[in-house]
Symmetry: C2
Subunit: 337 residues, 2 copies
DNA sequence: CTGTTAGCGCTTTCAC
DNA sequence: GTGAAAGCGCTAACAG
């Protein structure tokens, strides 16, 4: 067992030649003797020589790392996304540095600062819920670190991003329900501050209007996503006179709580009240009472695209030209036939 | 907007002083003039100067990164684990480089090689299912990279690891069922090659024997974890004469398939056949027919411990002294009261 | 064909 | 109180 970590210098010392000769031998440079090359390459394998990327950075100006900052890795949506991102990165010879903001601005700033310290070649960020100051995203330009926003996009100009078209998903949801004869369709939306909520709302309105149905404010309620708040919203929806026969719900997790509550009220799911939701989590397949359809947001696909966009930025001369990509959501039917 | 990324050299140039003076000013070194210090620090803030960790590596011999290699980030168990790992790393001023092996040895080797290339200060690995050659773990010693194995431990000597005590969990499961009057208890285990399967088996045997019950080979079947294989195993268990009244299942995912099959056979879950399982996934709360109990393996706690052990190794003089920690599993009851 | 050298960003020892 | 210089691992331009 050698005491020192294998370096070009160490190989050179052991072989009694110069470091540059070793470097050339390892890269099959033409101007190197066959014997020397062989000796070097064999010793390199024996010592398990792996070049030091940290040192290469000075030469190439690249760390061959990209940073990914997400709110929570424990959430299925984000873990699937980062999983695909890593695949794309690996295929491009890159390694992923990852950080969780836990939806906290200070932590997000801290993590991005760490990424900058490590001089990542690029960055993908899904902005924390409570981030209201976007200055540290601008600061990345000083270090020429290209940035792609993912799923949660801040209100900034000239940025690159990948997100999902939720408006379309909401429209599909409404259209499905109308085609099944529903005219009183409720919307159990998320917090009004989220773009995700606004998009659902827009799609909901658009689809209703395209069928000459007037959106009824009474049929739209918001949940702050916890059980109590969801139950209250459902309670209000059920109390509306001429109550809805179908409800479009913010996502499958909220739907779980809503469905539980509706069942407790002795109403039959998808008979008395038909449910359509968002996220299309795998759990739905195993539930007895689950939404008849859920809008798939393709976290894997989105993650893949985000990383691909980042590499486009990395390879482009003109990095200031923002790239944007919108993944179409798709309504997935879950009815057991 | 400055053209060049902020460096100490750049600050020195702009201020007309030497780089070393800037370095001292930034570190509040005593031998620096108050005026110079102030000028430097102000300009550093203005330029958003962030030191280059890559350059610091040469001085400190540390990259301030740790590598984490897991089979799949899309799996709840692993995403929860890496989530906690990152928290601990962040608290120690470290950033996590992550890689997925996708349960493939070649990819695992590749990812670990990338980590080595980046000269991570330490590594946590959950070994891929099909890894049979462990040489590349030994190679890490050349680079003095301490290694902690997580959850999936290879058959090597003198290694550091964190894992969960599944034998205890299996014992608890059997004991619960016996206390409920069951004597014919089946075991639907995973592939025999996995340590995880062996541990369940051991616990199962131990608990039965401590109640003077003889393990019946017919009551033990293995699934390779896919639906088809699980169904076959359940089918065989149900075909045993004097068939089991309870089954302990490898994990909750396998249990989902098994339960579906049992229901199709018109047997009532937890009445005709009582189910106990492992993993304790959150989905269980929302299912109508779910195991009456599931063994919680605390992925977050385990991940935390693994990272803590790694930092102990990093800070110890004697890194060759392996550290090991076993998290106790806990049987969680799920009955609706 | 091979060795020497400079330089990437930063810290630190040594001069002044 | 400040500058100059060396060195960490590696590559490439240059000299021989």
């Amino acid at each position: 067992m050698p005491e020192k970590a294998p370096t070009i210098k160490e190989i050179a010392r052991l072989l009694g030649i110069s470091p540059s000769a070793v470097s050339r031998a390892l890269h099959d440079h033409p101007s190197i003797g066959a014997k020397t090359r062989k000796r070097v390459q064999e010793l390199a394998i024996e010592l398990n020589y792996i070049p030091n990327q940290t040192a290469l950075y000075f030469k190439e100006g690249k760390t061959k790392t990209v940073g990914v900052v997400l709110p929570y890795l424990g959430e299925e949506f984000f873990s699937k996304a980062i999983s695909s991102m890593e695949d794309v990165a690996l295929n491009n010879g890159y390694t992923v540095l990852m950080g969780q903001s836990r939806d906290n601005m200070e932590r997000e700033r801290l993590v991005i600062s760490a990424m900058t310290k490590h001089r990542v070649d690029g960055l993908i960020v899904s902005v924390a819920k409570d981030t209201h100051d976007f200055a540290y995203f601008e600061d990345l330009r000083h270090y020429h670190i290209p940035l792609v926003f993912f799923d949660r996009i801040p209100p900034m100009n000239g940025i690159s991003f990948v997100r999902c078209n939720l408006k379309k998903g909401a429209e599909d949801a409404v259209n499905l329900l109308i085609s099944r004869g529903h005219t009183r369709i409720g919307l159990l939306n998320g917090p009004g501050v989220l773009t995700a909520s606004l998009e659902r709302q827009e799609g909901y309105n658009t689809a209703l209007e395209s069928h000459q149905l007037k959106p009824d404010k009474e049929l739209i309620k918001c949940s702050s996503l916890d059980s109590a708040s969801t139950e209250l919203a459902v309670k209000e929806l059920l109390a509306v006179k001429d109550r809805p026969t179908a409800i479009i719900i913010f996502n499958d997790y909220v739907a779980l709580d809503a469905i539980q509550y509706i069942k407790n009220r002795n109403l039959v799911i998808n008979k008395d009240i038909t449910i359509v939701s968002f996220a299309n989590i795998s759990m739905n397949h195993y539930l007895n009472d689950s939404p008849i359809a859920s809008v798939e947001q393709f976290p894997g696909k989105q993650g893949e695209k985000a990383m691909e966009l980042l590499f486009e930025l990395l390879n482009n001369k003109n990095r200031d030209q923002p790239l944007q990509y919108i993944v179409n959501s798709r309504l997935v039917l879950h009815e057991k036939i």
